[in-house]
Amino acid sequence: MREHRSPCLSDPRVREILSQKIAETLRAAGEDCPDAYAFTFNECLSGTRVSHRCERCREIPFPQMIKWLADAVRDGIRSVSPRLLFFHRTWGLNENDDAGWKNIVRRLEFSEGRGEPWLAAHARIFAPPTMHDVASRDLPAYVRMQKGEAMGFITKGTWGDISIDHPLNPYIPLLAAAHPTLVELSWENTVSHPRAFHVLALQFQRMRRLRATRALPDWPGFPVPGAIRVIIRDGGRTRGQGANGSAGWTNRNGGWR
């Protein structure tokens, strides 16, 4: 239980605090600075998720809210060092369209109105298209807003956490077309090792079919214990120096500086 209040990204003061928080986090590392900073807009402590809607932001498109957050994170990073690579991990934004509000509607339908009391109110109040986020509408729009930014994406290989049932994340090509994109394979403690290896292999095959990756890493030693969040790929293009003097993105042969 917690207060049904959360910071709103339309508030410039909230964004400034986030920038300052990230800057101080990076400075706390001391002289041995990290090489990259990534953020995820989901599962946060403060209750603000992409679905957040308050009186301040109810008319503001979701892609703008996401962009504001990304800008705040980037500003915090850049205030410390222009050399740090900046990643947006899209977990929480690349769900299928049946998640979020529509999921609430389905729960209401299946419970025939006898579900939790808030279901009906939630389904009704957040029904207008401007009141609930939709991945297929909002994520592409957000990615377009980031055109030209010196940044990369990290995105899951599938919609959800590791599962054979999950289809391939359809947004991988969209992200990778515009920015260097790492594909993440979660191999968490919900699946035993032999089975996890099988699932990973399936995910790799799916990505290949979608031409999401040009090749796969040859990692001897699979499986390894614990959680693995993988990686792979840059887009194979050469990107110029960042507009703000940041390190920019180099091609695959040059690696990422």
């Binding site: 239980m1 207060e3 049904h4 209040r5 959360s6 910071p7 003061r13 986030l18 300052q20 928080k21 101080e24 986090t25 706390a28 590392a29 001391g30 041995d32 600075c33 990290p34 090489d35 990259a36 990534a38 953020f39 995820t40 807009f41 599962e43 946060c44 402590l45 403060s46 603000t48 679905s51 809607r53 009186e55 109810r58 994170v73 690579l85 990643f87 609430i104 939790e116 109040i125 009141m131 260097p180 790492l182 790799f204 095959q205 290949r208 040009r214 090749a215 796969l216 890493p217 990692w219 390894v224 614990g226 959680a227 693995i228 969040r229 993988v230 990686i231 840059d234 040059g254 690696g255």
Partner: protein, 140 residues
């Protein structure tokens, strides 16, 4: 169904990958990352636990004072983990990435600056028995 084009194993080793990243928030994971050929690790992730922030928040004296009084142990621990993680990764020849879940702020902000925390849209808040700000289980 046979996949089109060269197999994964045929590709492996022929096309360089600039980033091969492993979630490596422990020394063991980082060493494993090195052993299996990864070149990056996520050394620390913030914003997923109640108070896992490596800062006092110096820009605000009130927040900083409160955190120095109540969260100094957590801050010191998180800073040590962050520094050790980065240093260890670099010693191993790995690049270090830091990750955070957003929007996450320490509880001190909620206590000192409640105006930063907005209730849900009016028609939803009004449905709550005690009005906006009533403690409820978040449905989303």
């Amino acid at each position: 169904m046979k996949p089109k084009g060269p197999s994964a194993s045929e590709h492996a080793g022929t096309v360089p990958f600039p980033i091969r990243l492993l979630w490596g928030t422990t020394p063991q994971q980082r060493e494993k990352a090195k052993a299996i050929g990864a070149n990056w690790v996520v050394v620390q992730s913030f914003g997923h636990r109640r108070n896992d922030f490596p800062f006092f928040f110096a820009p605000d004296r009130r927040i900083a004072a409160l955190r120095r009084r109540e969260s100094a142990t957590e801050v010191r621990l998180e800073r040590a983990l962050l520094r050790e993680g980065i240093a260890h990764a670099h010693r191993l020849g790995l690049k270090a990435m830091v990750h955070s879940y957003e929007v996450s702020l320490p509880d001190e902000f909620r206590r000192l600056y409640p105006e930063l925390y907005q209730p849900a849209v009016r028609e939803y808040s009004e449905l709550l028995p005690g009005g906006a700000g009533t403690p409820v289980a978040l449905p989303f």
